[in-house]
Symmetry: C2
Subunit: 99 residues, 2 copies
């Protein structure tokens, strides 16, 4: 499995709109096993995203899909920056589809 | 919902054993919606855990459950420290049980 944990920063006042866009875009992307979106309660502009994919290629391929491309285009004007992002190797846990 | 994202550090050579213990303990804890465990590919001692609970109280209550207490007792000698932990407010995404 391939994973990402990242902290995204919205422009002031844009976090909820950006979250709604992320919620609309996730789900049913090939190879996506989990995509968790969370507000940072200590930082009114920050969004944490934890992603699990079957493999790195699935994640990369998703970025070229029309609906993801469209979402990126709509999201970009609301994003102030990416403060933190790391790649992970998910090993399991609770909340992933059965293998 | 209530969330946590944390980076735990195992003692050298103990990461796999610690991960196995975490994998054995998770699942079927009341109020736990997601508990994702990942290795850090850039750091051979680090483990990332992303948790989603129905609420803060469920997480807190889990820490008193016998199987969690037992796991904490077994895990403690393998843990070097907690490098990073933040609380989050999960809002949704893909991979959570339907509400």
């Amino acid at each position: 499995m391939y994973g990402l944990i990242g902290k995204m920063r919205a422009l002031p006042g844009k976090r909820d709109e950006l979250i709604d866009l992320l919620l609309d875009t996730t789900g049913a992307l090939p190879g996506c096993l989990s995509y968790l979106i969370a507000r940072d309660p200590a930082d009114t502009t920050a969004i944490w995203v934890t992603e699990v994919w079957t493999d790195r290629e699935s994640h990369k391929a998703s970025l070229s899909m029309p609906q993801v491309q469209e979402a990126i285009t709509r999201a970009r004007p609301m994003i102030a920056g990416f403060e933190f992002q790391i790649e992970t190797e998910p090993v399991g846990g609770f909340g992933l589809p059965a293998a």
